[in-house]
Point group: D2
Chain length 329, copies 4
């Protein structure tokens, strides 16, 4: 079958042919329909320090996907051939887990074999959405761990997860959503997802804009989705006294924090978001999707066939894409 493989301990990914897997005991074989491309895949392609320390090529890459079950291994009784499914995001929960596309063969391929216990039924959700439920789940957890109805929400960083967060905050009854980014295309996407106010952080004073949009009080809830040190400081400055800051973006290296003035005197609650309440978040997500409260599809800005993985990666690198997905079957 066709697959995208990390062949060497060096930069690059290769579109090639590998043996089609089969479903071992307790596994299911899935025909992959859609797969999401994310920052992790960039790190693997670029063969950065993290990738060098973790991966053992050759390996099929890709870890966000959805598809159709085509065969059941021995002992699998709760799933059926023909079911559409998507993998669970539990690589984020337990650091001992072997993550597909990182520690074992992944999903940028025509077929993948998965343990049946890691597979969840889509129940009518299309596979193009199923393929991105892993990053969407992070956004759901980040937003809904705070109290949103009637609240003002500031989302710093309008990559795919930030744009999802904007739409989720709107669906959950935020009274005002402000979004910031340095990229005008991403800001346009955030506006499309429902942001009342967008702020270009490259040109405008973000904190002043948030204060202006919240009657000078600051936002009730801030979701920091960028990992940019300046945005982390803006998060602390733009939240109201006694407000809540959800940190999901990962800054590289250390960021100097003035704890007294940025956190303590403001009486903040700061939450490190790591996708932990798996079933609950998954359940909420399905409800929002099936009730039509939230449609993530505008965030999917680019779709490529498997063979054009290099174009997909280049699109992400250009920095103004939303979510990029591969259409496989």
């Amino acid at each position: 079958m066709q697959a995208i493989v990390k062949e060497q301990r060096a930069p690059g990914l290769t579109v090639t042919t590998v043996p089609k897997p089969s479903a071992g005991p307790g596994e299911v074989l899935i025909r992959v329909r859609h797969a999401g491309v994310c920052g992790t895949d960039l790190h693997i392609a670029d063969w950065d320090a993290w990738a060098q320390g973790r991966l053992k090529p050759p390996l099929v890459v890709g870890h966000e996907f959805a598809g159709e079950i085509v065969a059941l291994g021995d002992g699998v009784t709760e799933l059926n051939v023909g079911q559409l499914q998507c993998r669970t995001g539990n690589g984020h929960i337990c650091r001992n887990t072997r993550i597909i596309g990182v520690d074992r063969d992944g999903a940028f391929a025509e077929f993948i074999a998965m343990p049946a216990t890691n597979v969840l039924a889509l129940d009518g959700i299309p596979t193009e959405i199923g393929a991105i439920m892993d990053p969407m789940g992070n956004a759901f957890h980040a937003v809904l761990a705070a109290e949103i109805p009637g609240s003002t929400v500031f989302v710093a960083g309008c990559g795919p997860i930030g744009c999802f967060a904007v739409g989720i905050a709107r669906a959950a009854g935020a009274s005002r959503v402000i979004a910031s980014d340095v990229n005008p295309k991403r800001l346009a996407l955030a506006a499309k997802m429902g942001a009342h106010v967008t702020v270009n952080a490259a040109k405008d004073d973000v904190v002043r804009a948030v204060l202006g949009a919240t009657a000078g009080e600051g936002a009730d809830v801030v979701c920091e989705m960028s990992g940019v040190p300046a945005a982390v400081h803006q998060a602390f400055a733009a939240v109201r006294m006694g407000g809540r800051v959800q940190l999901l973006g990962l800054p590289t290296g250390a960021v100097p924090v003035d704890f007294a003035n940025e956190i303590i005197f403001k009486g903040l609650l700061v939450y490190g978001v790591i996708g932990r309440k798996m079933y609950q978040t998954w359940h909420q997500m399905r409800r929002f999707l099936s009730a039509g409260l939230f449609d993530p599809r505008p965030v999917i800005t680019h779709r490529f066939p498997l063979t054009r993985i290099d174009d997909a990666l280049a699109t992400i690198r250009a920095g103004d894409a939303g979510k990029v997905i591969l259409e496989i079957a």
Copy 2:
């Protein structure tokens, strides 16, 4: 000035002329624009046992209103003439409070003098909405004390507060809202406020309908707004295991409860809703209104001039009105 007065210790209300009040020290004089008529006013008109024990006629009645400040008493510095305002709902909070329209002269009149500390600025909210913020606040507190985003919500009883609750649940991101009542007009109103499913409790099996609309699980949150004993039992039966029941409707007399099966084995959280978090609820309400998340006006089905109070009361008694208000100035 013109006013509606309880003149005698006997049934009935009288439209008559009384002296215009003036603002004493610490008070403001308000020209009443809109006033809400509610069940309490019916009890007073009917001179029921509660009214006989509490009221000391003669007394101007009416306790839900909004209007314009026209004069400030000595020592009032934080309010201005010309401001639109509405009274706070704190009669519900502290039983020692002297409630206007019950213990002292009320708001069914051209003017009312109020302690400045009981007055809140409307900040752009129209007085017809300001006049009904007291019952709306009960609905806000009942709904938002539960976790609504993505939840399924069953509202039992579609009087004005129930209809508000339907709209608030939708605005806060409920994935499915089911409403029940015995009156088709009220059900139509609930549908207008956003109920996905309405159930005529006089004809259909309410619990089955809720289970059907929630994939057999039961609703995450039930708001019991009717006070009808049968609806209380339906609330317990229609909520999911581990769900939450908010009780606001006041049953008359005792209702037999099978605690083991209706509450304990289901692991329920049952909350008696009495409008207690005054400032927080008020603040949320203003946010929902000014953000345009929630518009209560479809619930206002009838408007009368002050002189037609008898028609207003008859309309409420007929049982298929939404909120009935008086247009005074």
Copy 3:
């Protein structure tokens, strides 16, 4: 081996000899050391309506126990021979579970075979305590689901679970614990477990006593452990405005409730306690026990050998025992 068996579809239990079980695949064989006798065993002995509908004799009874693993079945890798263990209380969580001593052979026997996944290591907790961790878990969940540090707590009903609740509330920093029962011996036990005030509900005014011990305010938290209708009303009357009532005792039949005055006007939160947060409760319990914060042993008032099950049952029926256990090995 020796065991207590329900032999016939008729009242009574028989001490007899049955074949010693062996550990099937995924199971462990446990030598039972201590077992708790509880109300369920009484229902089985008495052959009441519930027992008639549920049990299929012959069957070894008993479901609260702890012992030593003496053999591992195929595929069991996480447990070791010689470990002391106790079963999990999950019969309370999922009504589809086959409960030992009810739906399959139980623990009033020298040996029992159990699925390894239902077995938890005692980690130094003595088996006499391990044998009663099931009812203790109910008490932990009932008490700690409320906020206890500094709170006043009223425990209605001083059977074993109520007495555990008293000790747990004290260990968690309750500022005042009041306990009521009709039985002076049980009240003495509650006092021994740390109740500051005990009230004989047969003689004294319970509500007045709670108000007196809480400066007239009522208790912050009430745990209703008796299931007696009068005590349920006392629970609602003795809790403060805005307080919390945990209901664990199961009333037989319907109790008439004045929702308006008993629950709604008081703004109560009423919680139906069914032991649901299994691992969390279990974990808390182990912490309290191993830290020496809480010692349940004074509640164990009677110990009998397996052969004296009739005396054990008679002791419970007499109504003034604490926890009754069987010492088996």
Copy 4:
């Protein structure tokens, strides 16, 4: 009357004589019995940058105290001469407040006049404890905002507030309390207040010690009371995955934080503690004290007369005192 006065815009404090104040309208005159000396008083004595920017000498200093009401100003009706009282800690809540001993004359004096609304009755709590309820309140809020019963708690920094925190955690049912400091005398004080384990941060590996005392898991709750940058990092390293860090100590300047590894991947909740829930905290504190759950007196290590303020300040500077108080009347 005798008082300690900041006379000049220069280092130093002077014991001198000033006119006895009288109770103006709405005020009460209090004979000061006990007063606490704290870090703020050191800053004022040292005339550091903060003090230079804030104080306008001459001014009586001192802001933690308790005493007896000796006269009521006009319009004061809810307090009585002879009542023992203590001021509220509300300087920490609203930055516009004029703080006694900083913005207006303070409490290191024989008498002080205070607005009646800032005064709370001690209800039997001795004035030596009343004098330190302000810093104790910070400790109560820091500890009890987390869930303590059964939890493991690590307190970093054993100054007076840290030592209070140790005692409060024990009273609230912590299963294990670990305390760190660089000063052996303070560690001894923490042990006296109930710490199960004390760690000398100057000599031993604090994080290893906390892990060792918590079965390798890390503490459920960490209270960072020192403001020392190294301790802040230890707080993040010593808390368990998904745990909670309460930050009260104020680091000077910026501390570099590795957000990804120290906070986000651990899924932490970090709370900036500023004494905000005034009445609730005060109420809890009174309950703990009057129930005898917590006795702060061992933390009071030094007592001086008003005239020996220089010795009091020197004792604090030496770094191994607990709480230092002045005995005035």
